[in-house]
Amino acid sequence: MPDLSALPETLPERRELTTVPRFSDKVFRGVVTAGGFVALIVLGLIAVFLATRSFDVFRMFKLGFVTGFNWDSGDPDNGITPILGIGSMLIGTLVVSFVGLFFALPIAVGTALYLTYYAPYWLKKPMTILVDLMAAIPSVIYGLWGFFILMPHAIYWAKLINKYLGWFPTFSVPLPIFERSPFIAGLVLSVMIIPIITAVSREVFSQVPLDRIQAAYALGATKWSMIKTVVLPFGSSGIAGGAMLGLGRAMGETVAVYLVLNLYFLPNFHVLFSAGGSVASMIVTKFGEAGSLELKGLMAAGLVLFIVTLVVNYLSNLIVRRASRTGR
């Protein structure tokens, strides 16, 4: 046993560890550091900007701003006090986004499976590029397409769903008006988020260890049973992460939803009915003619949306990262 008490009384002073970087290295370091910090600073500034502008609103309405359903800019001349609440819009954002995710997820996962395991060799590349390209189309185009091309069909589908599944509360309608419903907005959103979910899913599917795939085939698995027992368990958390990413994108979508959704300041869970909400679209709608208090209210709505999407994105990152670490 070494004598532990034999440590010298005075420890030597720690030496400073330095290197002198070359000039070129310094320059490069400066550039990338600046780049990295610009992103952080911009993000921080946006948060600060929104927070300061919306401070008054939160002080006035407190939590009621998030939970209230009414949006009335008021009329001080006639003694009507303003009341601002984005609860219905927040609910609407969630409803529309989940409708979008509901349609996008199976299609995207199916596309990714097809591209990875079924598509003939010559088709993979062009099809992958095409799907990725879908993400590059400006969202206003999706909105116009949704309004002019998709909506007439979607109304027909909505009527069918309503006719046969109308006994289920979500598919019933208080009035037979099917235009610009959360259902239609969700469909448009689903098309918009398919590329991102497909890309993430394709990425995890391509990481499935070959030896596991071969093990399944060597046991007499069909392609589908192999996918069920090997690929999907391995890719599940990656798919979940991709879905969250798509959800984040859907929640922040503005213009496309603005064109195909009828904004209505009451919570509506009848997805086929022509009334819905979307925080982002609401901001655009009100922005032009907003008074000073209402403008602050819009800033506050923006802040809430900003926080919600940040949280969703953070969660999706967390899931995707854990998926790639455990490698299951």
């Binding site: 060799y121 260890p209 030896d211 596991r212 071969q214 093990a215 399944a216 085939y217 060597a218 046991l219 007499g220 698995a221 069909t222 049973s225 192999m226 027992t229 090997v230 368990p233 391995f234 299951r328």
Partner: protein
């Protein structure tokens, strides 16, 4: 059967018998001799049954990697495939259960007869072939998301087979793979929690659960320690009761210990070919081809 003991007596025999020029080959030969003595003169239990390759060629794209291999695997036997790296042993093995065709551009010619029927005949259900001709890979590859028990029964699920008593099947397969005593108390632990050797025996149990007629093993022990290797060799010997085993190995000792027949593959830059096939004893004592002799004595390869 205790392989360790067999091996010991084999070496004793060597020293008493011949102390001539080639000590290495003679020791292997006596190991092999011991094996076939224990087996007696080989008589196939079911005449006509078994696996037979007839004039098999294989390509990867334009690359011709295997030429004209004909080999017979009668039921109740273990056949070892040996040869230098890259001579097409794995490729040949994978043509026997149609795993070869997973590689894009892969091609083959010739016939592989399972119980007299060509497995490449058009209209064949490939998944049924792979049920009858199972495979154990070089690297143990249990499904990590499944428990030990689920791993063993995974083939049942994958091929959508019906089994009356899963627990019995589970125990039977683990017994035959020589793993039962080690895992019987933790069947619900994850497959990845086993040691490498145990994982490989788990993979053998998994392959046995679908009741294959043939088991193909591609260097099943190359990632394992000597102890696990011996356990698996023991397992292989016991399997011959009911399955045909074809094993690729780089370990001459292993080929000598475990197989009844040995085939030697070689490629001289062109496609790999089967140089010689004979009883394991012959290959290791008096091979007909001098290249075989050079290889098994370790003079090249």
């Amino acid at each position: 059967m205790d392989i360790l003991k067999l091996k010991g007596s084999g070496q004793a025999q060597t020293t008493s018998e011949d102390k001539v020029a080639k000590p290495e080959i003679s020791s292997l030969a006596s190991v092999a001799a011991d094996r076939s003595e224990s087996k007696g003169d080989f008589v196939p239990r079911r005449p006509g049954a078994g696996l037979e390759a007839k004039g098999v060629h294989a390509w990867f794209g334009k690359h011709h990697v295997l030429a004209n291999v004909s080999l017979n695997f009668p039921s109740g036997t273990v056949t070892a495939l040996i040869g230098p790296s890259g001579c097409g042993k794995s490729t040949f093995l994978r043509t026997l259960n149609r795993m070869h065709e997973f590689i894009p551009g892969a091609g083959m010619a010739g016939e592989v007869l399972l119980d007299g029927t060509d497995i490449y005949k058009s209209g064949t259900d490939v998944t049924k072939i792979r049920l009858k001709v199972g495979m154990v890979f070089q690297k143990p590859n249990p499904f990590p998301s499944m428990t030990i028990g689920e791993n063993v029964l995974s083939g049942i699920k994958l091929a959508q087979l019906k089994v009356s008593n899963k627990d019995d099947l589970l125990e039977e397969c683990l017994q035959r793979a020589g793993l039962w005593n080690e895992v019987k108390d933790r069947l619900s632990a994850h497959g990845g929690s086993l040691s490498g050797g145990q994982q490989q025996r788990l993979c053998i149990a998994r392959a046995l659960a679908v009741k294959p007629e043939v088991l193909l093993m591609d260097e099943p022990c190359s990632a394992l320690d000597p102890g696990s290797t011996l356990r698996i060799e023991e397992t292989i010997r016991q399997l011959t009761e009911s399955v045909i085993v074809v094993i690729v190995t780089h370990n001459m000792q292993q080929a000598a210990r475990v197989s009844d027949f040995t085939g030697f593959f070689l490629s001289d830059g062109g496609p790999g070919q089967l140089v010689e096939v004979a009883s394991t004893k012959e290959i290791f004592s008096r091979p007909k081809d001098e290249r075989t002799e050079a290889y098994v004595t370790g003079r090249f390869g």
